[in-house]
Amino acid sequence: MRIQVRRTGGFAGIERHAEVDTSGRADAPEWHALAERVLSAGRGAPPAGVPDGFSYEITVDGRAVYAADPRLTEDQRRLVSRVLKEGA
C-alpha cells in the first residue's frame, strides 16, 4: 500500500510531501487499518479551510481524500503526522 500526504498552505505557504510504502514493513497491518479508516471517513473534495490553516491531500493507492486544519479527525491527524514524519 502506498500512502502519500501533501500538505499545503499554512502561515509560511510552504508545501510538504511524503510517502510511505507499507510493503515489507512489519507494521503494515497497522498502517492499512489506519489508512482504510481515513479513506472511508474522508471527503472527496477539499473542504473550506481557515486562513493560514494547513490543507491535506491524503492519497492511498491512487485514491485521494482531503482534510483541513483544525478539523481533522483523530485518525487523519495520526496518519498525516506519521507519514510526514516517517515517510520519504
Binding site: 499545503t8 502561515f11 509560511a12 505557504g13 486562513p51
Partner: protein
C-alpha cells in the same frame, strides 16, 4: 457584614468578565476582593460560556471589551489539539512563568492598540470583541492560524520553525485575518485570497512598527523574522521590501514570492497561491509607505485601512480593484493631486498592477 457582601455568589454566573475585571481593580476591597477571587476560579471559563450563551439568547450584546481596553484571554492547548484549551491568563492578570503566554498576551495588546489608536477601531470587529488565543497547539506544530474565532499558535518543531509567538507581526497577522473577516471578507482563494493575506502582512508589519516606534525607513519590512530555527538559511518568511529574498534554504526551499505582476504565479496549491502572490500587493504597500516617509500607519496604512473597511471592496476583488480603491481613498483622505495620491498610484504602477 459589608454592604457588598451579597455580590459574591452572583459573580459566578451572571457578571461578565470585563465587569469583574473592572471590579477587581476597584479601590474598595469589599468589591475588588470577591471579583478577584472569582476571576481566578477555575470555573471562570465555564461561567463565561454560560454568560455568553444567556446574553445571546436574550439578543443582548455578548461579552465585550471596555471602551478603550482589550479583553484578552490566553489558553494553553498543552500540546493537544482541543480548542481553546485551558485558560492560563485573563485580562489584567500579571505575567506568569510561561514566556509564550506572555508574548501572546502582549502581542494581542499591541494589535488592539494599533487598531484603536491609529484607526479608532475598537477590537477586531469594531465592537469590543474579546481577543482569544491558544498557545502550545499540538506537538512540534509548524504553524499559526485564525480559526474564525480565535488565534492558534504552534511551538514549531525546533528544526524549521520555533515558537510562532516570537514575532509580533505574526500575532498581528493572525488577528488581522479577523479584521478582514469582519469587514471586506475577502475570499481566501486566488487574488482576493492573496489580498486577504497581504492585509494581514501589511497590518502585522504596522503593528510591529507601531510598537517599536519605527518609521517606514527604519523598519525591516520582514514577516516572521523571529520564527525561523537557527539552522535555517534565511532572515524571515516574507519580505515586503524585497519579496522572494526572505529565505533560500536546502530544506525549506527558496522564498517563492513575486514582487511584480511579471512574476505572478498561477497555481491551484496554497488556495491558489495566497501566500505567494501576496508579495505583489505587499510590495506596493512598501513602495507607497517608503515614498511617503514617516510612520507608515499614518498615511499608507490609513489609506489601506479605509479601503479594507470602507464597504466598497468586494469579497472577490482582484488586485486591480483594490489598487483603484486605494487611489480613490488617497484622494478622498488627503486631497487630489497630493503626495499621497501620487505615491499610491506610482506604487501600483511599479508592481505592474493596472488601475482601471
Amino acid at each position: 457584614m459589608t454592604t457588598h457582601g451579597g455580590f459574591e455568589p452572583v459573580f459566578c454566573t451572571v457578571v461578565p468578565p470585563h465587569v469583574l475585571d473592572r471590579l477587581a481593580r476597584n479601590d474598595d476591597p469589599a468589591l475588588s476582593g470577591p471579583a478577584r477571587r472569582t476571576l481566578v476560579r477555575d470555573s471562570e471559563l465555564r461561567a463565561r460560556r454560560r454568560v455568553t450563551t444567556e446574553f445571546s439568547l436574550a439578543a443582548a450584546p455578548a461579552v465585550k471589551a471596555p471602551s478603550d481596553q482589550p479583553l484578552r484571554t490566553i489558553y494553553d492547548a498543552g500540546h493537544g489539539t482541543e480548542l481553546p484549551g485551558t485558560e492560563v491568563r485573563a485580562e489584567g492578570r500579571d505575567p506568569g512563568q510561561d514566556a509564550t503566554v506572555n508574548r501572546a498576551y502582549s502581542g494581542l495588546g499591541a494589535t488592539f492598540d494599533l487598531f484603536l489608536k491609529a484607526y479608532r477601531r475598537h477590537s477586531i470587529d469594531g465592537d469590543g470583541l474579546p481577543l482569544d488565543a491558544t498557545v502550545h497547539y499540538d506537538e512540534g506544530y509548524n504553524n499559526a492560524f485564525w480559526n474564525g474565532e480565535q488565534m492558534v499558535f504552534g511551538d514549531g518543531d525546533g528544526e524549521i520553525f520555533v515558537d510562532f509567538t516570537n514575532s509580533i507581526d505574526v500575532i498581528g497577522h493572525e488577528l488581522t485575518h479577523g479584521v478582514t473577516q469582519y469587514t471586506a471578507n475577502l475570499t481566501y482563494y486566488g487574488q482576493p485570497g492573496a489580498l486577504n493575506e497581504s492585509m494581514s502582512d501589511v497590518f502585522g508589519a504596522l503593528i510591529k512598527q507601531y510598537s517599536l516606534g519605527q518609521t517606514a525607513a527604519e523598519a525591516d519590512w520582514l514577516i516572521g523574522a523571529g520564527i525561523l530555527a537557527p539552522d535555517v538559511t534565511g532572515t524571515a518568511l516574507r519580505s515586503m521590501k524585497a519579496p522572494g529574498t526572505a529565505y533560500d534554504d536546502d530544506v525549506l526551499g527558496k522564498d517563492p514570492q513575486p514582487a511584480t505582476m511579471d512574476d505572478y504565479v498561477r497555481t491551484g496549491r496554497d488556495n491558489g497561491g495566497v501566500h505567494i502572490n501576496s508579495g505583489i500587493p505587499n510590495h506596493a504597500f512598501y513602495l507607497a509607505a517608503t515614498a511617503l516617509g514617516g510612520y507608515a500607519w499614518e498615511k499608507a496604512g490609513l489609506i489601506w485601512y479605509d479601503v479594507l473597511t470602507g464597504g466598497e471592496l468586494s469579497p472577490k476583488a482582484f488586485f486591480t480593484d483594490f489598487a483603484g480603491l486605494t487611489v480613490k481613498a488617497a484622494r478622498e483622505r488627503f486631497g487630489d493631486g497630493g503626495d499621497e495620491f501620487q505615491a499610491v498610484e506610482k506604487a501600483w504602477e511599479q508592481v505592474g498592477v493596472r488601475i482601471l
